[in-house]
């Protein structure tokens, strides 16, 4: 049996007045059943676009310009209308940063859950309500019978996100895509939601793609990590490998830039400059203007994600795994 999800060379472009902008450029990764993957990157890296592209929800002027998304043996990029709707919400659910993107403010929680169920399954209102109650219990909402009659605004931020998780679980999906699900929440609530998500994915055998900028959060939840930069995956591997032995200079910089409480008061490691905007992605390796180990080749040739000899991580960097290639710095010295 193949992978649950196989994203291959996915490419998304936005048709704008100055021409097409490439938002993600050749993103590939795989996810097995019940596996959890963290898609990590800073704003503008293309991680959310990747999430939307998987469920074919790129809105105009964006479009998928290349690559495939094989979910359970079917290519989703070609699906439209009815076929995609069957997948979305049924087999793949999405959780957003803002719960109000999922919840309709003028309908009760119960109505929304029942309608979602009835849209995907041919069941009675009674049966749907029973499933809704069960899911609310799963996300540990106290007195769920009473809560079903309430409107979204009657819940706190953390409770709303729990309900969104419950809605995502309604149809027992095989995959949940969670886009910054706890960014808007306080740390104590973030810890609760993340634990909940983790426990549910483990007990139900659900796959999870966690899209976030927060490496620390990802490290608690996922088995695999893919680090994105300027529309590409620059490093991918097992969570512990990425965190403990990052290879790509960007991943290294990112981890070292986090204040971790071990050396208070000292200067933090900073990556110079900022991530390029989509309009002016540099030629060659898009990270090279900020990179400390760049060589000549980085200026004109874009590196591909490859296995690095002697390591388990995959990384897209020319300068890794070389015997001895003089870097610019070496040459200057």
């Amino acid at each position: 049996m193949g992978h649950l999800l196989e994203v291959k060379d996915l490419e998304v472009k936005f048709a704008l007045r100055m021409g097409d902008l490439t938002a993600i450029n050749g993103v590939s990764f795989t996810l097995d059943r019940g596996e959890r993957l963290g898609l990590v990157g800073e704003s503008g890296a293309g991680k959310s676009v990747t999430g939307f592209a998987i469920i074919n929800l790129i809105s105009k002027p964006g479009y998928i310009s290349g690559g495939t998304v094989i979910f359970d043996g079917r290519d989703l990029t070609g699906l439209t209308g009815e076929g995609m709707r069957h997948i979305r919400g049924n087999l793949i659910s999405m959780i957003f940063q803002d719960p109000m993107m999922t919840l309709n403010p003028v309908l009760t929680i119960g109505t929304q859950m029942v309608e979602t169920l009835q849209a995907h399954m041919n069941i009675s209102r009674k049966a749907a309500e029973k499933i809704a109650l069960e899911k609310l219990r799963m996300v540990q909402i106290p007195s769920p019978e009473k809560r079903l009659q309430q409107y979204p605004h009657e819940f706190s931020g953390g409770m709303r996100q729990r309900i969104v998780v419950a809605i995502a679980l309604l149809a027992d999906p095989a995959l949940i895509i969670a886009d910054e699900p706890t960014t808007a929440l306080d740390v104590t609530i973030q810890a609760e939601i993340m634990e909940l998500l983790l426990e549910l994915c483990e007990s139900e055998g659900t796959g999870l793609i966690l899209i976030t900028h927060d490496l620390a959060v990802v490290s608690q939840v996922t088995q695999k990590i893919a680090v994105m930069y300027a529309g590409k995956v620059v490093e991918a591997g097992l969570t512990e490998d990425i965190i403990d032995n990052p290879l790509h200079p960007y991943t290294q910089g990112l981890i070292k830039a986090l204040p971790d409480g071990r050396n208070p008061g000292t200067r933090l490691n900073q990556i110079p400059g900022v991530m390029p905007s989509l309009i002016d992605i540099p030629p060659g390796c898009s990270f090279h203007p900020r990179c400390t180990i760049r060589g000549d080749i980085c200026r004109y040739e874009s590196p591909v994600l490859r296995e690095i000899p002697g390591y388990r991580n995959m990384a897209a960097c020319h300068m890794l795994g070389l015997k001895k290639e003089p870097t610019e710095k070496d040459r200057a010295e």
Partner: protein, 336 residues
């Protein structure tokens, strides 16, 4: 207490959000009554800031930390309590009386997209505070000062004619810091200055803030919800919950041996890169609203150690030795 830069005593700030008179009227038991809705944002907060230190105020959204900062700077009028700056009382001053302190106390804001006037160039934004506080200053002197500060915050002084929308978020935050530094302040309140920024840019800004502190001898009041940032930059930490300070301690003490049960829960919830799948202390229930504060200790409804006394009596912020202050009956009684 002359050696304290800032001394806040029993500060109270409430917001009346009940709206117009008509909206306040309600019918209760057949009679028309006037009902007012008051948000108790800051309740009886006492704090002090020593010169040269970084005091961080942490807490979750709605705990009153931003209100505290804004009241301290006179953006809100306090409803009770006193604020001292180097021993001079500064609350309730008129606009004019406040002016000399305005140049000493500055603020850096959270949202780099909203904190700069979009219709003013960088030059205009930066020179306004200087010219306002030193009307006699010459034009070339202002230009030099703008260029100098821009250099210090790492923005190319050749870009002074540009408008804020031409800069990235990190650069805007640098300009925002430059504006605060223009008047040569002693005390800077930084309200979530890095929360809106990406990790790699966040490190740049934190470094800049630490450098500026070292070069200019600044004192910071740092408002944030990000505990790893707090641990990195502050000398002391005040933890707030529902408008009250529940713990005030030097950073190392706080992170190594948190006293208050809320501080313990909060610290345990920080995800740690190298401690994967660690267990956090789960609190029961939810944060009550500041409109309807619980009696006694505001935390008692969620506290695993609460007893009868906690629900009746408000705990005072007690000295626990070594500059550690905790507002908890259980700690005071030695139960935890």
């Amino acid at each position: 207490m002359k050696d304290r830069l800032i001394d806040i005593k029993n500060l109270v700030k409430h917001f009346d959000i009940s709206g117009g008179l008509l909206e306040q009227l309600a019918v209760s038991k057949g009679r028309i009554i006037r009902k007012q809705t008051v948000v108790r944002a800051v309740n009886d907060v006492s704090l002090f800031v020593n010169p040269g230190e970084t005091l961080s105020v942490v807490g979750e959204s709605g705990c009153g930390k931003s209100t505290l900062a804004r009241t301290l700077l006179g953006l809100y009028q306090p409803d009770g309590g006193e604020i001292y700056y180097r021993g001079d009382r500064i609350d309730g001053l008129t606009q004019k009386e406040m002016l000399p302190y305005r140049a000493k106390m500055q603020m850096i804001f959270q949202d780099p997209y909203a904190s700069l006037n979009p219709r003013m160039t960088v030059q205009q934004t930066l020179e306004e505070p200087v010219v306002f506080h030193n009307p006699s200053i010459s034009g070339s002197e202002v230009k030099d000062r703008v260029a100098g500060v821009m250099q210090q915050v790492g923005v190319d002084p050749a870009w002074t004619d540009r408008y804020p929308h031409e800069f990235s978020g990190g650069q805007r935050q640098r300009i925002s810091i430059a504006r605060a530094l223009m008047v040569d302040p002693e005390f800077v309140v930084a309200d979530e200055p890095v929360s809106a920024l990406d990790v790699s840019v966040q490190a740049q800004i934190l470094n800049l803030l630490m450098d500026a502190q070292e070069q200019r001898g600044l004192t910071y009041l740092f408002i944030t919800h990000d505990l790893s940032v707090v641990r990195h930059i502050s000398s002391r930490v005040a933890v707030m919950y529902l408008g009250r300070v529940c713990e005030l301690a030097p950073t190392t003490n706080l992170f190594e041996s948190p006293g208050h049960p809320y501080t313990r829960a909060l610290l345990s919830a920080i995800p740690d890169l190298y401690d994967r799948r660690h267990k956090y202390i789960k609190l029961k229930g939810e944060v009550p609203t500041p409109i309807d504060l619980p009696s006694g200790c505001v935390f008692h409804g969620r506290c695993p150690y609460a007893d009868g006394r906690c629900s009746r009596e408000i705990p005072a912020l007690n000295h626990q030795g070594k500059a550690v202050y905790v507002a908890c009956h259980a700690v005071e009684e030695g139960r935890i």
